[in-house]
């Protein structure tokens, strides 16, 4: 079976990395994801996760596709800041961020060329939330909320 070498895929990935959100470890999405599809996916995620206070789904360029509440620009700014700080903290782009504070917990995930940020109540189960976020982004990248 023919296989693509890792070096080739890494080079292709490096050529495409522009900006904070483009540094996706699994940057597979090149199709346009509509805001409606993202909103539907976010609604489903909110329904599925009782601990969720709010969340946002963003493109690789950091544009908000869907966000809870009425401040999408704040979600974009704060998500970009969190991911930028997280990237600076290590020697490679982060895939997931989990910050647990006394006031709540913040999760950020890059997957399939998209990014998601979620805020939950304290003691939310991280593995479940990351699983849900990853599944949401993957299904969005594959073509829409009907697959979520």
């Amino acid at each position: 079976m023919a296989q693509t070498t890792t070096t080739v895929s890494q080079e292709a990935r490096a050529r495409d990395t522009v900006g904070i959100f483009a540094e996706m470890p699994d940057a597979a999405t090149r199709e346009v994801v509509s805001g409606d599809a993202a909103a539907a996916a976010l609604a489903f995620l909110t329904e599925m996760s009782p601990d969720l206070r709010g969340a946002a789904i963003l493109t690789a360029e950091g544009e908000v596709l869907a966000a809870s509440g009425d401040q999408p620009e704040r979600w974009a700014e704060d998500a970009a800041a969190l991911l930028a700080i997280a990237d600076r903290a290590g020697d490679e782009p982060v895939e997931q961020v989990h910050v647990a504070t006394e006031q709540g917990e913040v999760f950020a995930l890059r997957n399939a060329g998209l990014a998601a940020v979620a805020v939950t109540n304290r003691y939310a189960l991280a593995s479940l939330l990351f699983f849900d976020l990853r599944a949401t982004l993957l299904d969005l990248a594959r073509g829409g909320p009907e697959a979520v």
């Binding site: 401040q71 704040r74 700080i85 961020v97």
Partner: protein, 73 residues
């Protein structure tokens, strides 16, 4: 006399539920704020709240928590 089979099953299930509840209570009591970053391949790294990167991560997370508000009631 041996207990009825359904009684054994019920006892076992309630035992598991008790274990899970106890685990959650211990987790709540022992857990402190943390910032954890995960990288490709499953590697992760914790940053202390009083470290340079940790303080920035907590500040950025605080901004997001503020945007999200109290969430659903």
């Amino acid at each position: 006399m041996a207990p009825k089979p359904h009684r054994v099953l019920l006892d076992r299930v309630s035992g598991y539920a008790d274990e899970a509840a106890a685990y959650m209570r211990r987790r709540r009591a022992a857990r402190r704020p943390f910032a954890r970053l995960y990288y490709a391949g499953g590697r992760s790294h914790d940053h202390a709240e009083d470290g340079a990167a940790g303080a920035e991560l907590f500040a950025a997370a605080g901004g997001l928590i503020e945007v999200a508000g109290k969430g659903r009631s």
